[in-house]
Amino acid sequence: MKYSGLRVIKEALTGHRGWGPAWRDPEPQKSYDYVIIGGGGHGLATAYYLAKHFGKKRIAVLEKGWIGGGNVGRNTTIIRSNYLLDGNEPFYEYSLKLWEGLEQELNYNAMVSQRGILNLYHSDGQRDAFVRRGNAMILNGADAELLDVDQIRARYPFLDFENARFPIKGGLAQHRGGTVRHDAVAWGYARGADSHGVDILQNCEVTGLRIEAGAIRGVETSRGYIGAGKVASCVAGSSSRVMALADIRLPIESHVLQAFVSEGLKPVLPGVITFGAGHFYCSQSDKGGLVFGGDIDGYNSYAQRGNLPTVEDVCESGMALIPALGRARLLRMWGGVMDMSMDGSPIIDRTHIDGLYFNGGWCYGGFKATPASGMCYAHLLATDTPHETATAYRLDRFRRGRMIDEKGVGAQPNLH
């Protein structure tokens, strides 16, 4: 069923009786050519591109809960491609380009809003680093503009420009960045994948991987055994748990990241804004809530909730940037479990087991990567070669000394 404005009018006039479910709820088949573990944004995008762009059949997405119930439903919805390093920037710029065409591609309103992202700087040294980053972005085909204080004042007059400790000196803007309605991403990809024949199997937890003679044969699940030609893990947050089923240890720790939303306010924050002296990022949702977050809590955790010291830290950063934030009441806060990798960058690669593939280590940058992650993972699954923008995301890069460490803090996952 194609969605359109005309269709909305027709349904409105006929009592909305013509809408059907957006995807099927099939029974598992005995076997598939491709089994994707994880029905989050990345897994559903992978299935969609595998079916649509690579023409593959007999694909299943296995989700232990409900689709979109993990990190794609728990993030701060920001999209951007303002990375520095060669291994990252082409990939994230490719992702941003896919975001720009996503709604037409999927015939689904994902509320992609390129309202711009602004990273503030507060010192001369930070300015120089941002100039370098901006140049790296432009060299990779992205957009970047250095804004001075007057330009920022015109758009964000309520920031604490004269903060005694961290005065705002300027900012690096990416006008094509913005936000996307997170749930709609999962639903849009699910509907698209389903319409190309992908079986989306919910409440289907993978409990074992059947491996014979160094090759994957299938997966044991809570809904029975499912044979598979290729199995693709795509469960960031729980990667270590799934790969442990194949006795694979990963360069990953799971950490909890908290996010917050205020009560609904009238439009106040036109774009996405980040504080350069602490870790704080904020945007306003279309419902009016200020959506914001900061650092991970910093200790291994699989609990989808964090602790109060981090709440205090995030709110202090917010107040240092936007003093008016103190007048808004916090409506909700929640936590998501992140795959924190050893260099802060993701992994999209084969494993040493034939037919077993791995996608994870997204740290807390996975949402913006969803379309490119799906496309690149599908490319790898379909062709057994990496997509040209994802050649650096190898599983063995730590052994080979090819880390992609944007922050330069080394093998300490809670610092990335």
Binding site: S240, R249, L250, P251, E253, N307
Partner: protein, 95 residues
Amino acid sequence: MMIDHPLLGPRDAQEFTYLGDASLIDRPDWQAEDAVDQFHDYLYLRDNPAGEHRELWFHEVGDRSWLVVTRNTLTHQITSVELARDVARSRGRSK
């Protein structure tokens, strides 16, 4: 979270910084034949369990001791706290 320090009693986890898995105590022998492989695994690979986890915390704004905390990563419940020095000695790591 409260960490029941073996010497100082219950302290707020905010006083500590977190390093990671307590297996970092077991530094490989740099003279071993396969030292490169051992150090790769030591530096980069983690069990990352969902459940009981032994981990290193540093009492940075306290007595600056290293602790081995046993904590459940699903519930954040702490079940035991030891001085890392004692743990290391019991494994023959330190004199």
